[in-house]
Symmetry: C2
Subunit: 246 residues, 2 copies
């Protein structure tokens, strides 16, 4: 049977925040199809062909569940990638055809990014646990297909969403966090360093970030006060974004 229309897939760029190293990490799936090529060509983002009867968002949630054992993950669709030549190598086409069990000429993918708590991700629950790994952004060049491009778009979309409070960056943090963790997360997302005192002054004006009556324990320095995030206050605070940048 000839294929007359492009296949449709979803791909998920899963972000996790390593609070120790203060780094934004990305979950990738490692295949073994290129033996003689160096670099990251064996790395791709987790994804799946969209079944005929499934909603796009549901397909993405399903991928995430099979991957991390997590349900109701924070997931945002950010772009569809449809270059007819996005499958670059014969090895990739053959891999995809074997993997999905259909003849494939072209795949259009709807890309999502997900925010998860890196400590919640339980690889034991994953069907494909031994093929998953976390990498940092600067180790993600030259991935399979157009996935390095997809990552650039994902990072830009995340940054945009965070700037306008269109996403909950707190999904990446544990329920109790320090201001230093929060600051390094913002710095990782925005791609720039910020001044500690000014950052804290700003955060103290955010009604949705609230201090607990509790401190860090067991650290070899002055223990930090812990904070939590109030989602309802956050939702309310969205309303007064008015002023555009000139």
């Amino acid at each position: 049977m000839a294929q007359l229309i492009p296949y449709l897939s979803v791909d998920c760029v899963v972000f996790g925040f390593d609070a120790e190293r203060q780094e934004l990490n990305i979950l990738v799936y490692e295949r073994e199809i290129f033996n003689d090529r160096s670099g990251n060509l064996n790395l791709k983002f987790p994804g799946s062909i969209v079944p005929m009867e499934d909603d796009l968002d549901d397909s993405a949630q399903k991928v995430l569940f099979e991957l991390t054992g997590l349900k109701n993950v924070c997931l945002k669709q950010f772009h569809a990638f449809g270059n007819p030549d996005r499958i670059k190598f014969d090895e990739e086409k053959k891999w995809a055809e074997r993997h999905y069990g259909v003849k494939i000429d072209r795949v259009v993918t709807i890309a999502y990014y997900a925010l998860i708590r890196i400590d919640k991700h339980n690889p034991e629950q994953s069907r494909i646990r031994d093929k998953l790994k976390w990498i940092t952004h600067d180790r993600a060049e030259n991935m399979a297909f157009d996935h390095s491009l997809i990552l650039e778009y994902a990072l830009a979309a995340l940054k945009k969403d965070v700037l306008l409070k269109d996403v909950n960056v707190f999904e990446l943090l544990p329920p109790k966090f320090t201001l230093a963790q929060l600051q390094s997360l913002y710095e990782a997302v925005m791609g720039k360093k910020m001044d500690k005192r000014n950052f804290r002054k700003k955060i103290s004006k955010a009604s949705y970030i609230k201090a607990l009556d509790e401190k860090q324990r067991g650290v070899a320095h002055k223990p930090a006060l812990l904070f939590y995030f109030d989602k309802d206050d956050f939702e309310r605070s969205k309303e007064d974004i008015n002023t555009f940048f000139v």
Copy 2:
């Protein structure tokens, strides 16, 4: 032949700005498939099935060209809509099957918004000119398929892009425009009124909006100074968006 995967289409939400009436308008395509239903069920956004060999962006440009006779239109992909039930009525399914000449069970659409100058849009050049019309946002409820939802997403995406200077709102204006026109455009996009003096103070700080040595003519009131938009300065000015909203 059974269809095993969803069809893929692109749809374009075309915005135009009516500077006289100070309204944001939307270009819709009118069909004649519902006789006995009231409302806007006959209205849809222009779109097309994506051919097997075409890039998504190219397909959208092609739709725009056939529609408006314009090339290199400002076009931004903003969301993919893939609810399996987005074709709601039998009449719509039959229309789509007749229109595209294939059996259709499900269509996933990649939605774009376009900004065009309403005065440049030459309906004479359009293949389907007698079926196109401009409507305002508040007259766009209950459109065909999920197109009213698509419009809501388009407006939100446009607003977001304008806030972050990710799109050129000046594509909607003639090359020479007054500050009153510019202000009413911002107001239409942001959905809120602004103070004239404060708006002008802000605009005067934008290096990319420059006064001409020329005024309006033939108006029955004090003629307004004309301004133009400098794209290079605009691109340069994007770099210093840093501060997130709390």
